[in-house]
Amino acid sequence: MTAVTTRRTAPAAGTTPGTAQGPPRRAPRDGRRIAWVPTMALLIGAAYCLLPVAWIVVAATKSGRELFSTFTFLPGTGFTANIADLSAYRDGVYWRWMLNSLFYAGFGALLSTAVSALSGYALAVYRFRGRETIFNVLLAGVLMPPVILAVPQYLLMAKADMADSYLSVLLPLILSPYGVYLARIYAAASVPADVVEAGRMDGGGEWRIFRSVALPMMLPGLVTVFLFQFVAVWNNFLLPYIMLGDDQKFPVTLGLYTLLQQGSNTPALYTLVITGALLAVVPLIALFLVIQRFWSLDLLSGAVKS
């Protein structure tokens, strides 16, 4: 129960690189000598991971002609023109895709977090018949390959006359087995049993105890569930690809894919695809950079001890 609460107040999670990352066990004796091998290895890894992002940043500044003629890491002159072209493309359908993605990911993650919080809390705090069975069954969902789900999900949605609708992409992604798993760990670690008991003695109903006592305690963990699910929905391709036909409802991943597909016939679209990809990546990266300040990446793997 310590980490979820202490991590939040820990002054330096991510703000001062290097020193603050490790727990205090690090020997201070030879703190001044730099270990070159791991440092360089990590920097090479970082460079590899940043390379495509750097490339797309540069490429997005090039006009269609420059893209194929100048050295790739030379900035071009067409960035604003590219954005204008992208915004003008089919009456700004790109921004509609971005809004759709934001809706699917934001709203979907919110609902998902709520469901995970309720289930995780119930599984961690109560002892009842069928607890482990329910948990295991929910968790088994993680093992279900998306393909065995997506095709019949589409057929069932079509039967219910709901295929090609916003709901058809939103609903199947609300239940996240991993979210339930994480929420259970966080609830078990951050909501002490005697606090719940005390709430009962004060005459609080179970719902009120959950909402006003347990929920605030679980909040740092729930932020993680939200982020995890936001990324999962934002990155999802298979489900919208199968469910949607009307490109006004496309998320940005699917939209860019269709744009790239047309681009193989008309290379002029390539600059739009590149600019669109950059603009689609920026919000998530910004989200992570901002959130780094008060949230630790480690929580993503269910870390509750430190």
Partner: protein, 338 residues
């Protein structure tokens, strides 16, 4: 957790119990019946809390799986020319769809391709993730906060966009690699064809997945108690020895976990090859098993064989991942489950 059991106990004896230890301070009028009501509420509460999850599971997991199983045993029978109402009807097919799926050479070929792809991705990704996690955990590493974030960054990039970015970097016309090879007068391999295509696709998965796995492993490295390192230091163990003899064995369970999920994800590969397809002719529409299912279901409109194929893929995936867990699980008992 002892406290969890007390409401139930209280509930059972509440109606006539003279004293209920929990509710003692409350007045007699309010205090006595309260535990009974609370107890009943408590007993129902967890089920109420779980209702949304269970409902969603039934609707969007159980029902589709059941429907897929059902469809996989059905087929369409065409009477006469197949024209007019009632000429096409759905009938039981037995295991015919499975027989067809298992003897489908295209499916087999796609399975072989994906296994080859997985043989590159999974060991490289987890090896790299482990090494980087150990480096992050090593002493006196500089800029590790920056590196950690940078390596994790691709996690926030959708697979489609990752494939798109790398796809352009593989295109000779726009890629800086080809530019440098050209300037250096070196041979320029076609990354989007034949053997290199596997490496090109594997690289996208490697780029996208290493960071997340690194964090998972790094998290469990950081949970190793300090005394163990102190003991190792006193014994004169070097950093490398500490890593090999202490750290890796201790993080083995999280390695198993990441391996498990990597296998599942790899066999399901869909968006990356689908995205790269417009850039090359070497990627067939049935390159991976999932693409084949999509092709069967939506291009050929044969949902029955698509259902059978997806059941086969699911079963093989689960068998492979559990087979792996079983062989490894016997050696490490420290599971990650709570």
């Amino acid at each position: 957790m002892a406290a969890e059991t007390s409401p139930a106990r209280g509930a059972r004896r509440a109606p006539d119990a003279p004293e209920t230890p929990g509710a003692a301070p409350a007045g007699p009028g309010r205090g006595r019946p309260a535990p009974g009501r609370a107890g009943r509420r408590v007993r129902g509460a967890p089920y109420a809390f779980l209702l949304p999850a269970v409902t969603l599971f039934a609707l969007f997991f159980a029902l589709p799986i059941g429907y897929a199983l059902f469809l996989s045993l059905r087929k369409v029978e065409v009477k006469g020319l197949g024209l007019g109402k009632g000429a096409r009807s759905e009938v039981w097919a037995g295991f015919a769809n499975y027989r067809d799926a298992l003897s489908d050479s295209e499916l087999l070929a796609s399975a072989v391709r994906v296994l080859g792809y997985g043989a590159i991705v999974v060991p490289c990704m987890l090896g790299l993730a482990l090494v980087l996690a150990l480096m992050l955990d090593a002493e006196r590493t500089r800029l590790s906060g920056f590196s950690r974030l940078a390596i994790f960054l691709p996690y926030a990039v959708p697979g489609v966009i990752a494939a798109l970015m790398w796809g352009f970097l593989y295109l000779p016309d726009v890629s800086p690699f080809y530019y440098l090879l050209d300037k250096g007068g070196l041979p320029q391999p076609d990354l989007l064809d034949g053997g290199p295509l596997f490496v090109a696709l594997a690289n996208i998965a490697l780029w996208g997945g290493t960071g997340f796995n690194m964090i998972v492993i790094y998290t469990s490295l950081r949970s190793i108690p300090a005394e163990i390192y102190e003991a190792a230091r006193l014994d004169g163990a070097s950093q490398l020895q500490t890593a090999l003899r202490i750290k890796i064995p201790i993080v083995a369970p999280s390695l198993v976990l990441t391996f498990f999920f990597s296998i599942i994800a790899t066999l399901q590969v869909f968006s990356e090859p689908t995205t790269l397809k417009p850039l090359t002719n070497s990627l067939s529409t049935t390159w991976s098993p999932l693409m084949k299912v999509y092709q069967d279901a939506f291009i050929k409109n044969d949902i029955y064989s698509a259902a059978a194929t997806s059941v086969v893929i699911a079963v093989v995936t689960l068998a492979l991942s559990f087979g792996f867990l079983k062989t490894v699980g016997s050696r490490s008992n420290q599971g990650e489950t709570p």
